[in-house]
């Protein structure tokens, strides 16, 4: 049945869509189409770095976020509510605060950073590894929460049956829980990756803006805006297209 949309609801919904779409239309007007190729070529380093950093951050976030999601979905233990709050925190936290916290703990003078520095001589701030950690920090909640929902929706009894068939807990996780939740895990990875790709505040605070090492595309766009706004708009278009591609790829795995 075709459902009639009430007029006022439709009008407000349209206003919402306009709010979301108009900025992109504006962006299209300002893009210097004749030199867009050059702009993109000039920012190759930042684009490559963005992809490397966001992919590594997604891998890190998946590696710990999926087990975290399973623990939240299946675990029964004290402090679970606290654990979930910790997972939610990076979503509600301003990224610049996240960056400051990372700097305070993992920076050269942070309580953990100084230990790492003394032990292996590695300092994370202002390195690509630091940018990866900042991006993973903000991507992790998305991966963990979406995979939690996936594990919650899959049938726990299948894991129990696997146990009676002699499968230990790791094998049950790997061979039953993971495949069951696969669509959610893909969606979580896509969301996490998109978040890592767009990461700005935590990265610039914790990893700085070093070209070729920590200057990812969003940072490059921000600094380009002050010198050559047209170039910034060209780079923005690339990020819009990449994000749309991720949306399209992940769509059928979590959108109905």
């Amino acid at each position: 049945m075709k459902r009639l949309i009430p007029g006022r609801v439709g009008a407000l919904a349209s206003a919402g869509v306009l709010l979301l779409v108009v900025p992109f239309v504006g962006l299209l007007f300002r893009i210097p189409w004749t030199r867009i190729g050059n702009d993109v070529a000039d920012s190759g380093t930042a684009l490559r770095l963005s992809i490397v950093v966001s992919v590594l951050a997604t891998i890190v976030a998946l590696g710990v976020g999926v087990p975290l999601g399973w623990t939240l979905a299946r675990g029964t233990f004290r402090g679970k509510a606290l654990m979930r709050s910790a997972v939610l925190l990076p979503i509600v936290l301003p990224p610049v605060v996240a960056g400051s916290a990372l700097l305070a703990s993992l920076g050269r003078r942070g309580f953990l950073g100084s230990v790492i520095d003394d032990a292996v001589g590695i300092t994370l701030p202002f390195t690509t590894a630091g940018a990866v950690i900042a991006a993973a920090f903000v991507a992790l909640p998305f991966v963990a929460l979406v995979s939690e929902a996936g594990f919650r929706a899959s049938d726990e009894r299948l894991e129990e049956v696997a146990a009676t068939l002699g499968a230990g807990s790791w094998r049950r996780f790997r061979r039953v829980a993971l495949p069951q939740a696969a669509p959610a895990l893909i969606a979580g990875a896509a969301l996490g990756w998109a978040r890592a790709l767009g990461e700005f505040g935590a990265t610039i605070t914790f990893a700085g803006n070093l070209e070729g090492r920590t200057q990812t595309l969003p940072l490059a766009i921000f600094f380009e805006l002050q010198q050559d706004p047209e170039a910034a708009f060209s780079l923005s278009l690339i990020l819009v297209l990449v994000s749309l591609a991720v949306l399209a790829a992940a769509r059928h795995s979590w959108a109905r």
């Binding site: 696997a162 009676t164 002699g166 499968a167 069951q180």
Partner: protein
């Protein structure tokens, strides 16, 4: 010998179970929904914890609450076939069957599928299988591991009626051919009768009675068991082969020891008459028809009166009766099976 003597609490439901099983018999646990049948299987499989008690299989202790022993399900070597099979949806039938094998062994899994008549479905995914096929694949998945204890939860509940007889035959054959402890759970006494040697009747989390299906039919110890096996059941005081019931009525039996007694009457041994029957029956009374319940070729007629009773008559025979009408009930003394309480 398998010994299971446990008490457990699951969401406020208290389970108190104490029974033994031998390796040469198939045991059916029968009871209504909510009697604790599935809980019992889960406890035996090691999926749920017990509060107190022990589970011992041969010389292995699986559960001993006082000593803190709990062997996990993955180390019990049970073959648990849950209701509806619960196959892994992302694996084909053959991969489901080989899931528990220590090394991927499709040949052995295929052997078992063949044995259950499923070889053509080896590559099919669970979503492509019927309820009965899924049930058998789940059965094969458990049997391929040669379990010490086989646990079937309502093996025919998800099978559509048309396939039930053939699936039941296969399950019956495999239960007979695979020695070891075999316990199945069902709400259906007929299924228990066809698949099991001995029946444990569960009611409200406790064992109501244990015995062969014949024992249960002829000598039920409670109203509940009698109802389950479809028998008329009476309590009274016997003296000189006459049982005085609580309401004052009496039943004459061919033979019953004096003292507190129980008695059963098979519904098919009850005859109903419009006119007062003449001749030999020792138990005759006038009752009122409270209900008429047709089934395939029989009709169950509920009659109230000095003694409430259910009679099973043919459809043709039932045509003469109508609800609310009066009817003469006759039962021969030899059909009143009396036994001490």
């Amino acid at each position: 010998m398998l010994t299971c003597s446990v008490s457990a609490n699951r969401n406020g439901f208290q389970l108190e179970i104490d029974f033994q099983a031998r390796p040469d018999e198939v045991v059916a646990v029968v009871g209504p929904n909510g009697a604790g049948k599935t809980s019992l299987l889960r406890i035996l499989a090691g999926l749920d914890a017990v509060e107190t008690g022990i589970i011992r299989v041969d010389d292995e202790v699986w559960e001993d609450a006082t000593r803190g022993v709990h062997v996990g399900p993955e180390r019990r070597r049970v073959g648990y076939v849950p209701q509806a099979g619960l196959l892994f949806p992302h694996l084909s039938a053959v991969d489901n069957v080989s899931f528990g094998l220590p090394a991927p062994d499709r040949a052995r899994a295929t052997e078992w599928l063949e044995r259950l008549g499923l070889e053509s479905l080896a590559g099919s995914f669970p979503s492509e299988l019927s309820g009965g096929q899924a049930q058998l694949v789940a059965f094969a998945r458990a049997l391929v591991l040669r379990p010490v204890l086989l646990l079937l939860d309502e093996p025919l509940a998800s099978v559509d009626v048309g396939n039930r007889a053939s699936i039941r035959r296969i399950i019956r054959r495999e239960l007979q051919d695979n020695p070891g402890y075999r316990i199945l759970v069902t709400h259906d006494p007929l299924e228990a009768a066809s698949l099991a040697d001995r029946v444990v009747v569960l009611d409200g989390g406790r064992i109501a009675q244990v015995g062969s299906i014949d024992d249960l039919r002829t000598h039920p110890v409670s109203e509940y068991v009698a109802e389950l096996v479809g028998m008329n059941f009476y309590r009274g005081q016997a003296s000189d082969n006459t049982i005085s019931l609580a309401g004052g009525a009496t039943l004459v039996s061919a033979s019953v020891p004096d003292g507190p007694a129980l008695a059963t009457i098979h519904p098919r041994a009850v005859s109903l008459h419009i006119e007062r029957p003449s001749g030999s029956p020792r138990n005759v009374w006038l009752g009122t028809i409270a209900g008429i319940e047709p089934s395939l070729d029989q009709v169950r007629v509920h009659v109230t009166g000095p003694i409430d009773i259910v009679a099973e008559v043919t459809r043709a025979g039932a045509a003469a009766f109508s609800e609310g009408g009066e009817v003469w009930v006759a039962v021969k003394a030899s059909e009143v099976v009396g036994y001490p309480r």
